[in-house]
Amino acid sequence: MIFHPTQSRLHGFADGALIKKVRVKTAAHLERCSKCRNTVGWLRRLSREANALPLPTPPPELRDRILESLRRGDRVILPVADHPRPAWPGRRVAAGFSAIVAVAIGASLIRAPELASEASELRFYPEHPQRGDEIAIEYHGTSMFAGEDSLMLRAVYRTAADGSTWHEDLPVLRVATLTGLGEGVYTATLRLPEDVVYALFAVEDDRGSRVDSRGRALWELLVYDDDKPDRDALMQKTYDLQRRNWELALETAQQATELYPNHVAAWFALSSLQQLLSGKAGLPRELLSRHRARFAQLERALAQNHALSGADLGGMYGYAVMLGDDVAAERWRERLLREAPEHDLALAVSLSEVQKAASTDPPSTTLAKLERLWATAQSHHRRPLSSYAFDIAVQSGTSEVMAMWLDRYARVQPRDMVLAATELASVPVGRELGISRLRFLLGRLESPDDGRFGGPSPQAVQTDTRAAREVRLSTRPQGIDRLDHAASRVFHSITGFNFYVEGGTLRGSQRKRSLPNQESTGRPSRKATPEPGEG
């Protein structure tokens, strides 16, 4: 009985894409098998003939149409890059679209230690699940995970309640264990929580030291509503992409407006992204007038509705701002603050007003206003709020107030505690408090692998409303990264300790001399900062 190569192998042979060993073996088979030889021959002829297809000619009037459009001033934004990953831009859009400007770099799936694999694949069955569905997952890995019996599936889950929160600010969860079936194939099943509409996945080994995040693009899963993507899923995808891939964010927002033409937030997101990509020149005239017409239609439909959601009110306010309609913006701003003060944009507006008044208000007044906002702010609002309040507290010069806001900031953003403490220690008024916090943190760094340093403690995680699910951050590399990259220089200047990474381990050493005018700060934790040669 003759065993023929698979069709896939014959295609690979025709393309010249097989490795030498397989190519030689296949060639040997082809020498004696006319059937397979004919298949390869056919494929090669197909390729040649496809290449030789004549170029079609565009209709002659097309050139004139293009020139006429150019003269009219029409503008088009072309997709010039596949996966642009620029930083999130200007204040206007950021303040409107993404609620509040973030101040720190957060943990995320795409900041994990990266060993991307080109050929790996993560498949979901069903490909288009409904909310709460059970999903079978199949991972086809590469040699990156050779020898691993099981792998971990990490995810960022997004729900409608996440609003426009940035990707980096959401917890990374370990959602399933992938069991190896051999030949690089791993499987798992998981049930999507009912409220999850959009999820992003990466695969890692048990220690989190090797991560396949699809070349940082991640694998995504979009929840469907019958036969089309769920409205909230599309919005969450748009928000998630806002700092990762503008082109795809724009495309997703566009899809959301096409599938859900009455969804205000989608129009707001679309106009924000178009505005962003248009740069200083602003939205092209034709586009602007289309948006204005759409806004007018939405306003006619919603003005008399007094049971609108915060998302709708915020969307109308943001959309009006984007279109430069100050009168409408004021009208919707009032409604937003009155009817949905807890909404992302309402908080952004309130905070912005506090910030505006801060130039004339004494710090104590500003802090009192911030205290009131703090009382109603939801958990994901508290990070930027406490960050700003901390700045004002530093201006106030009162160490108790500084300590209070620093601790609040640390609670909502524990992984940036080092940054906050070093920042505080770098200003004269906060030096003492900052150093004491840094000493405390260093004391907690009990081992180079201490997960508590770079990420939330297990207790903190459990108090997080989202974190009933299993949570695990790749804290060790992130902790090193933060120390090494952001804080070590300031830290060194204050405490006299250097941090460096050697053989994947965090080490420390005490400097030989003290900087002028700085008191000795003593020696922190033994294990974290061994003397040279000690460990």
Partner: protein, 178 residues
């Protein structure tokens, strides 16, 4: 005397400045190529014309991102492919085109030429969008699976699978009419 290279450079400069004449000059040079890519990817003359129109209207502003490392023609073709694919994706979202394609059971016939019984153009036009796009980008435009993956937002492995499916479908179309 103005060399071809200088003329080309002047056109690019003028296009970046938004001069219609310069864009018309680039259209004269690359319009046919752009239309070819657009037509094969979109499978519709109307859509292809829209894509070409979009490409040349947006070209001036987009040229800022052309760093001159490769050829301008290659860059324009790539932008055209992305524009056409984006349009296809939007249409797909509306129409939910199925890409399920049955596997071809029969082996290839012996010495037949792919275009003996049905023209390749016709068979290509009959392919589902996702399969045709991969086939056109790989076999006609010469992109690697990795590049195709980046353009289409799919894995290189998926691109390979789609290429295989496309070829099988073409074979079935061509030979099925025998």
């Amino acid at each position: 005397m103005v060399t071809e290279r200088e003329r080309h450079s002047t056109l690019v400069k003028g296009a970046r400045a938004g001069q219609p004449d310069a864009i018309a000059g680039l259209y004269d040079l690359y319009g046919k190529t752009v239309y070819g890519v657009a037509l094969r990817l979109s499978n519709s003359e109307t859509d292809a014309e829209d894509v070409v129109q979009d490409v040349f209207i947006g070209l001036g502003r987009s040229l800022a991102s052309f760093e001159g490392r490769g050829s301008l023609e290659g860059w324009i073709k790539r932008v055209t492919a992305r524009t056409a694919l984006m349009r296809l994706r939007r249409q797909r979202a509306r129409n939910e085109i199925s890409i399920e394609v049955g596997l071809l059971a029969s082996a290839a016939s012996s010495e037949s030429s792919p275009t003996d019984r049905l023209t390749l153009e016709q068979a290509l036009a009959g392919l589902p969008d996702e399969l045709r796009a991969v086939f056109v980008l790989k076999e006609i435009e010469g992109y690697s699976h990795r590049e195709i993956g980046e353009m289409m937002g799919i894995q290189p492995g998926t691109s390979k699978i789609r290429l295989h499916r496309a070829r099988r479908e073409l074979q079935r179309s061509i030979e099925g009419t025998a």
